[in-house]
Each structure stands twice: as C-alpha cells, then as structure tokens.
C-alpha cells in the first residue's frame, strides 16, 4: 500500500475547497477490535487523516473524557507495541495519514530507535508526544528523521512569535494548534482568540495547521477552517459518544458515523 503523506492529504482537500477532518480515538478503547471498527467508521464517513492515541497512565494534557478512554484502553491491555499492531491493521483498509498521539514516557521506555522504527514499519506517518516540547526533542527528532517519520509539535495562544518560528522549523506533517487554554475536552463555544491564533500562525509560516482541543461541533469545525486552518481534529466529542454507548456497540458505531459525517460536511463550507 502506498501511504498518503500529510502534504498530499492537505493538497487533496484544498483542491476540493475543503478542510481536512481528522478524528481521534484511543487504540484499544474500549477494546482492540471495537476501536478498529470505530476507525473504519471514521474512514467510511469522510476522515481525511487519523489521530490514534496510545494510552498513558498520567495524561496531564488531557481532560476527563480522554483520561477515561485511556483507562479503558489500558484495562483492555493496550501497549505501544499493540498500538503499532493496531496501525498495521488500519493499513489493511486505508492509506490516509495516520498520526500517533501519546506521552513521552511510552517512547522513552520502549527506546526511541525501536519506537520510531516500529512507527515506520507499521505505517504511521507521524508522532506527537503531548509532553515533549522542542527543548527536549533532539533525540526524538533524530530517531524520527532516521526512520522517515514526521514529528509533530503543538502551538498555543501563549506561544510567542519567536517560539513559533523555532517550533515550525522542527515540526513536519502539520502543526497541532491548541484551540483553548486548558486540557482536552468538549467545549460549548470556540474562543475568538483561536481565530486570531490561526491567523497569526498563518502569517508566520506555510506549514499546514490542524486545530484541536475543544473542537466538538460542526460549527467549530467550520469556524477554524474558515479562519484558515487546514484541518480540524475532533477527539473528546467522539469519545463521549463511545463512553455513552459502551453497552450497545451497534448504536455506538452508528452514532459515531453519523456525527463524523456531519463534521466532514462542515469542512466543506
């Protein structure tokens, strides 16, 4: 299978005058096979790229929704190695970009060389560690480059212009823009400062940007795409559907699919 690059994916959506819709799920939540079915539903309902979480016991950047998903996944026996097996299974049915979202201790414990090698061999495009700022990323970047894996970094409202320049130099694939001051989790409204942040980044760099944290409604997706973002990442709002429908998997998949279709539609404004 010929894996699509992030550049190609953003080019593809741009040509269609759309933004990229990037849904998130934690590998193994609530179990390996169900989360794989959830990813299939993402793809069938218009996902342009995928964010796959590898669960960590102490996810400080995450709110209660992702924490619960992490706990369910850990209880189902998920590890980084099984996470890569999960991605290999995803590659049986799609070639759109797949990014891994995790915390640095999982990478450090496995060993950087092995982690990035497994990422490449199993078809992951990129790695993002939520607690790995550029200051600490030298070794990770080296391992990433050696294995042809992209390393994604985050930027937030508190990130200065100077810092933004440093980050965009190191970052490849896309820049993950944090839409809120806070942890992950569904929000009722999107702050106007998010729009300003997107515009500020776009005036500094050509790197594609995807916005996440608190993007939970089609309206939010439309707002960030209209403000100039290349992609919108939706996590907690999807995980809430999973959490609420653990007893009925058919209904869970159906609801996730319907919600994803609405989110994808919102990228076409």
């Amino acid at each position: 299978m010929n894996i699509e690059s992030y550049d190609a994916a953003f080019e593809r959506t741009k040509t269609k005058k759309e933004g990229a819709f990037i849904p998130f799920v934690v590998a193994g939540d609530p179990d390996f096979e169900t989360s794989l079915q959830i990813v299939k539903v993402f793809v069938e309902n218009g996902a342009d790229a995928l964010e796959i979480g590898f669960p960590f016991s102490d996810p400080v950047a995450d709110g209660p929704t992702v924490q619960l998903a992490d706990i369910r996944a850990l209880e189902s026996g998920m590890t980084a190695e099984k996470g890569f097996e999960f991605i290999r299974r995803i590659r049986e049915f799609t070639d759109i970009p797949v990014g891994v979202l995790t915390y640095y201790n999982l990478i450090y414990k496995m060993g950087l060389e092995k982690f990035y090698k497994m990422a490449r061999e199993n078809g992951a495009n990129a790695i993002l560690a939520a607690d790995l700022p550029p200051e600490e990323a030298c070794e990770a970047l080296e391992a990433a480059q050696k294995n042809g894996v992209q390393q994604i970094f985050m930027a937030a409202q508190t990130t200065s212009n100077e810092r933004l320049q440093e980050i965009t130099k190191m970052c490849s694939g896309f820049l993950y823009v944090v839409a809120v001051m806070g942890t992950t989790g569904a929000r009722a409204e999107l702050k106007t400062t998010t729009v300003d942040l997107i515009k500020r980044i776009k005036s500094h760099s050509d790197i594609p940007i995807s916005v996440g944290f608190g993007i939970s409604k089609p309206k939010h997706v439309r707002e960030v795409i209209n403000a100039g973002a290349d992609g919108a990442i939706v996590a907690s709002a999807i995980l809430n559907i999973i959490t609420e429908n653990l007893e009925n998997k058919e209904e869970m998949l159906q609801k996730v699919g319907k919600f994803c279709a609405e989110l994808k539609e919102a990228t076409k404004s």
């Binding site: 960590f56 016991s57 102490d58 996810p59 400080v60 950047a61 709110g63 209660p64 924490q67 850990l74 590890t79 980084a80 190695e81 915390y103 640095y104 201790n105 999982l106 990478i107 450090y108 414990k109 496995m110 939520a130 607690d131 790995l132 700022p133 200051e135 600490e136 970094f153 985050m154 930027a155 937030a156 508190t158 990130t159 200065s160 810092r163 980050i167 944090v178 001051m181 806070g182 942890t183």
Partner: protein, 390 residues
C-alpha cells in the same frame, strides 16, 4: 528557558506547550529574586518570625547512647505547621506575590504541603485551591479540616490511584487552564524545571543552619547526613550544603513499604528511568512505561517518582539510597518517641531507622538526621498499626 534544568541527563521540561511560557516566566522571576536583597530580607523575616527559624540541631543523648554513635537531630519538626514544607511555601508564596499572581494551587499527599500552602495563602491574602487524591482525603480528614479552616479549598481528585501522583496531574491541568493569574506552588524537588532547583534553593536553609551548628558543636563535619526521600525536598535541603564535602556520607531513606518484593515507594532503590510530571528521573513503572502505584505507610513517601537531582546523586554515587520498610519505620517511630520524647512524622521515622542501620555498621561516628516533621498527624495510623482503638 535560560537554563535547561538538567542534573546530568536528569530533569528538564517535559510538559505540554501551554505550560512553557509559565515556566519561562517563573524561571525568570526566580533568578531575579533569589539574589534580591529586599526579597531575601522579607523571606528571612517570615522564616524567623512566622515559621520559627532557626531550628535547633539537637544532640540526642539517649539515642546516641543506645546506638553507640553521636546522633544529632535537625529539628524541622518544630517549625510552624509541623514540617520543613513551610520553608518552600513561604519562599514560593512570596515569589508569587512579587510576580503579581492572584491565586495559589498545590498538590498534597498527606496534607502537610497542603497545610503549609493554605497557611501562606492566608498570610499573603491569596485564595488557594489544594488538590488531594480522594483516598488521601478520606484517610487524612483532620488535615483536610485544617486546610479548610485556613480558608483553602480542598478539591478531591478521583482519577487514577486517587493519591499524590493524581493530585499532581490535576494541579498541572488546573495550571494549564489558569496559567495567567495562578502560581502552582509545587511541594517537592520534582516536576519540570525550575521547580527542582527552586524548591531546593528554598530548602537549603536546613543545610546551612546544620553546617554552622555542627561545626560549632563538634568542631568538624559529621560522618553522615541522613534524611528520608519522597519527592526529595527535605533531603536535598540538608544534603545540598554537604555535597562538596566528599568526606560526608549522604544517605537517603526511601519508603520501602511491604519490602521491595511487595508494594513500595522506593523509586531510587528499585525504579527505572522514565519521564513523569515534567522531568526525566527514576520512576516506578511497568515494562510498557505505565506508572505504577506506590505504597508506603507514610503518605509523604508514597510517590512513584523522585526529584531528578536525586537520580543524579544516585548514579554518580555521591549519595546512597536504601529502602526502609513500614515495619522498620514503625519501630523507629516508637524508639524515638520512647528514648527522646520526640514523636517524629512517619516520613522522618524512615530517616531514624536508616540512622539505626548506619550506626550498627559504623560505631562511634557522628550522624545528623533530618527530622523533617512531627508525628502528631500520624498517631491515628500508628494506633491502627498497633491495633489500638483511640
């Protein structure tokens, strides 16, 4: 950041991007005020008049006779709020005030750091939210009540193991959300840079007083300095002044719990390298990098991480660390209470137990034990352990 905050390869700033500007701001303020005359004069005033410094370096006659060594106790247990924690909360509380922050947050395990934070919040007229695992809230009701009397809000944390580690996660999440007006008053020499360096700085007063007093009393340096190690602030506070005196042995006592084969909190003795709460250090974890739950009879040592400078002192061999089991700590608690009339905190009882071991192997030596806190808070746990109903 101005410095990378590394001790060898340990330490660093492994935090989400949102926190970087806050850490930069904090580092800048710390570097500015740590040598500022006005700031230091004010801090010294509060340490003396409010907290009760300097603390005595007490020659424990009866214990010395029993153990066949000269044993000195650094009496941090006599400080206001009952432990060394107040040294750091006064320092950071004052720094927060100088920085113009309007609100304090903190994590706490047993509640000692929570109380010390609630106390300076009252002193400096700032609201304080204290994160505490719901398991700890249930077993430390008295301390929860003490914090609330001081006007702090105690927020029970329901995630993870519901203990200190999870309280720290939640405090960091709060800080990520309210970074502009809030100071996170972290209680140990753990966490991202500049905390390990800054908390040590505010605790070095223990080592400075100890060195001056022991030279006055003995005319020479001690053979060993012994302290308990949870996150590591009281031990680094006293070790720091002796690190360059190579002839002084530095010994850390970790929470050995049920023993290293069972559940414990002996991170340096039995852990492996990993990244937790913003720094690279030793941690207790499984083969896949998931952080384990720690266990110790002492809530202050019940933590699966440790400050990065301790990892550095361990691998360079400058300090030695070993586990003290719950049972050994309990016996040391009874011994000090009986022989000296001093009821130590369970944390400090680990240091006393380590001193007993050291004395057996090194008769006739001069030992300083950091008695980091008093045991009033622990009498219920001790009574339970003895099967006594209060």
């Amino acid at each position: 950041m101005i410095s990378d905050g590394k001790f060898g390869k340990y330490g660093g700033i492994y935090v989400p991007e949102l926190l970087i500007p806050a850490l930069e701001e904090l580092e800048k303020a710390f570097l500015k005020y740590k040598d500022d005359k006005e700031f230091n004069a004010e801090l010294e005033y509060y340490l003396r008049e409010f907290a009760g410094r300097p603390t005595p370096l007490y020659y424990a006659e009866n214990l010395s006779e029993k153990l066949g060594c000269k044993i000195y106790l650094k009496r941090e247990d006599l400080l206001h709020t009952g432990a060394h924690k107040i040294n750091n909360t006064l320092g950071q509380g004052l720094l927060a005030k100088y920085m113009g922050k309007e609100r304090l947050i903190a994590e706490t395990g047993a509640g000692q750091h929570g109380i010390a934070t609630a106390t300076v919040a009252s002193l400096f007229k700032m609201p304080a939210d204290i994160y505490m695992g719901s398991v700890d809230v249930a077993r430390q009701k008295l301390n929860v009540f003490r914090m609330e009397i001081s006007g702090a809000k105690v927020i029970p944390v329901e995630s993870g193991a519901k203990t200190l580690k999870d309280a720290m996660n939640e405090a960091m999440r709060d800080w990520i959300t309210n970074v502009e007006n809030t100071h996170y008053l972290l209680g140990s020499t753990a966490g991202p840079h500049p905390y390990p360096t800054m908390v040590k700085h505010f605790q070095t007063v223990i080592g400075k007083e100890t060195k001056k007093d022991i030279l006055e009393k003995e005319g020479e340096l001690p053979d060993a300095v012994i302290a308990c190690v949870g996150g590591g602030s009281n031990s680094l506070g006293i070790f720091s002044e002796f690190i360059d005196d190579k002839e002084v042995e530095l010994v850390g006592a970790e929470g050995g719990g049920d023993g290293l084969e069972g559940k414990h909190g002996a991170t340096l003795s039995a852990g492996t390298e990993g990244v937790l709460h913003g720094s690279l250090s030793f941690v207790l974890q499984d083969d896949y990098g998931q952080i384990s739950e720690a266990h110790s009879i002492s809530a202050g040592l019940d933590y699966p991480g440790v400050g990065p400078e301790h990892s550095y002192l361990k691998v360079t061999g400058r300090a030695k660390y070993g586990p003290i089991t719950d049972e050994e700590a309990f016996r040391a608690f009874k011994m000090l209470s009986k022989y000296e009339g001093i009821i130590p905190a369970l944390e400090s009882s680990h240091a006393v137990a380590m001193a007993e071991k050291y004395a057996k192997e090194n008769p006739g030596k001069t030992i300083v034990v950091n008695l980091s806190g008093r045991g009033d808070k622990d009498v219920n746990i001790i009574a339970d352990f003895m099967g006594v109903k209060l």
